[in-house]
């Protein structure tokens, strides 16, 4: 089901087009209500279903495999082995099997679908405040400061808190940033592809119960399928028994290979729970006595029983990301930003993370726009119209020009325009940036671009882009096709593209 993502993409496009500007423009899309739920603009790489109720990682293929394996094996067991066993031995067997199966399924779905304890990213104000504090502490100079850490003493142990550059927060102890989901997760255990989600503070107990019950179920099925085959072979011989219930062979094979890994995993996690460690900490050996004589786990409650109770029966914190809440479009950003780039960078990065599967398209469009830039710089005094894209043969037709309503007012990036205008740059096209060199043609206009077409096409010579230069001057554009221009996103990929594009344009403008 990729509806969630694509739907959110479409909704982004729709809502952004509708909130864009006062100019009437032809848009093929019908106007949607701008009320979006927060999950639709969630910056991490997660998939949401059922209008935000279900949350999973991006790659869910292995999860479906897990589901299929469990369903098929249990299905075969109930269909082929249970009737025989119920008659021969006792009908309690299928009942217990059924209960175990339902429990396994329930805990699996609960683990996969719930929020593992994702920490929401810092608001722009918070990020700016933190940056300021860090700069003050560092005595900032031009060079990039070293990775930021804070030390804190917990129960006598010194713990380093790392700064997360993506989420712009100092991670709480035991939290870690999952690179697959692009989120910081509290009490991060590991990212489990089998359940298609991270395992963290909020779903660790479900994960543990899942693997524990699955071990029991696997052993249960394995044992009773063997019993079934043995009983049958007493009657009619081994080979006949296998012929009569061929499914049993498949079940035995699946269970045999699963038992080792799952039972082993359950044992490992039982150890982790009893010592109140996460997989992450255990692998790194954070609290291992090998590191030092005084190294101990500051989070442990002292005895195994309390640790187990705390992990399995302790209070379950609610989700910190309000998935189903509505986005408040009036969130005030009234204070002048202390660090404009950070502020807008934050919102931009949020936007750019939303649909990163379009990075290819983004970068191509970036190439297009970057191609226009040198022309702007060179011919800023004359009207110019850019008519072709470099990939259309790589050569721009004779008179390439871009209409400019005079030199753009170089709006500083730190301009306190309301951030609702920044999201108006389409969700995955927020990274369509003109490389702003010298800020002579900054296009961080509050005026949203109106380009619906170039999502999946390249600009053809017919699609004459309207002058981006006019936009900051406030004049509305009637043209439906615009050069997409936006904020300078200090993402690293842009500078790479920038360089390659310069080369392209130099070639083409000869």
């Amino acid at each position: 089901m990729h509806l969630g993502v694509s739907e959110s993409m479409r909704e982004c496009e729709y809502s952004q087009i509708s909130t864009r500007s006062s100019t009437p423009m032809e848009t093929p899309y019908k106007k949607r209500t701008p009320k979006m739920r927060k999950w639709e603009s969630f910056p991490g790489r997660n998939k949401f279903y059922c209008n935000g109720r279900i949350m999973m990682a991006k790659q869910t293929g292995v999860f479906y495999l897990t589901l299929v394996l469990i369903l098929v094996t249990c299905g075969l067991f109930f269909t082929f082995d249970c009737p025989f066993l119920a008659l021969e031995l006792t009908p309690v067997i299928p009942v217990i099997g059924g209960v175990l199966f339902l429990f396994v399924l329930g805990t699996l779905l609960r683990t996969s679908f719930s929020d593992p304890g994702v920490l929401p990213r810092a608001t722009p104000d918070e990020a700016a405040d933190l940056e300021r504090q860090i700069d003050v502490a560092n005595g900032s100079t031009g060079y990039r400061p070293p990775p930021r850490t804070k030390e804190v003493v917990i129960n006598g142990q010194t713990v380093k808190l790392k700064y997360c550059f993506t989420c712009k927060i100092f991670r709480p102890p035991r939290a870690s940033h999952c690179s697959l989901c692009d989120n910081c997760v509290e009490r991060f255990d590991h990212h489990c592809p089998w359940v298609g989600n991270c395992v963290g503070r909020r779903n660790y107990r479900f994960f543990y119960m899942f693997i524990l019950s699955l071990s029991f179920l696997t052993i249960f099925i394995f044992a009773f399928v063997i019993t079934h085959v043995i009983l049958r072979s007493h009657r009619s011989g081994f080979l006949n028994a296998l012929k009569d219930s061929p499914a049993s062979v498949l079940e035995v094979v699946v269970c045999f290979f699963s038992v080792w890994s799952i039972v082993g995993l359950s044992g490992f996690h039982t150890y982790l729970i009893s010592s109140n460690q996460t997989t992450n900490e255990d692998i790194k050996g954070s609290w291992s006595s090998k590191r030092g004589k005084d190294n101990y786990n500051p989070y442990s409650h002292g005895n195994i029983f309390t640790n187990c109770c705390a992990a399995l029966c302790g209070p379950l914190p609610p989700s910190l990301i309000d998935r189903r809440g509505f986005i408040q479009s009036d969130t005030p950003q009234l204070a002048p930003p202390t660090n404009g780039i950070t502020m807008y960078g934050a919102t931009q990065s949020q936007q750019s993370h939303m649909c990163d599967q379009d990075q290819c398209i983004q970068s191509t469009k970036f190439v297009l726009q970057a191609a226009a830039t040198p022309l702007l710089q060179q011919q800023s005094s004359q009207p110019v119209i850019l008519t072709a894209s470099p990939e259309n043969g790589g050569s721009l037709p004779g008179r390439t020009s871009l209409t400019l309503g005079g030199p753009c007012t170089s709006l500083p990036l730190g301009q306190p325009t309301p951030p609702t205008s920044t999201p108006s740059l389409s969700c995955h096209e927020a990274t369509d940036m003109l490389p702003i060199h010298g800020h002579s043609h900054t296009h961080n206009h509050s005026h949203p671009h109106q380009e619906p077409v170039a999502h999946h096409h390249f600009l053809t010579p017919e699609e004459v882009p309207s002058p981006p230069g006019m936009l900051p001057c406030g004049s509305p554009l009637g043209h439906s096709h615009t050069m997409q221009a936006g904020f300078y996103n200090p993402a690293s990929q842009d500078s790479l593209h920038e360089d390659s594009v310069r080369g392209l344009v130099k070639l083409s403008s000869v």
């Binding site: 918070e126 804190v152 209070p315 379950l316």
Partner: protein, 143 residues
Amino acid sequence: MAETHSLQDMRQQAAVAAKVFIQRDYTKGTVCQFQTKFPSELETRIDKQQFEETVQTLNNLYAEAEKLGSQSYVEGCLACLTAYTIFLCMETHYEKVLKKIAKYIQEQNDKIYAPRGLLLTDPIERGLRVIEVTIFEDRSLTR
């Protein structure tokens, strides 16, 4: 949202001068606690003791939410036995305490902070990372 109409009005009328963020205090581990250190930006606006009392009360409430006691164990076991369907009917202890916290913050805002041109934001709206104190421009106060 912990805002009343009067607070919203104030917000719309007054301009935000600055925002102060009270960070988390991790010295007790992963439990939710906030630093009680009094930020210098608020020195002119509010009494130090008053502010510290607010933060300390919040800390106590959060500690109560995450407390490991017989009540939480019973709730946990019951939930497990009912396959967590029980939470369709009732809310968790943590959620109940969060509601209490929201009420407390609103009450504090109404009584103490709004008259001084300050606004406390419920930490849950900031992912329990910070207590955000918004300082409004105070043109009416003569000092």
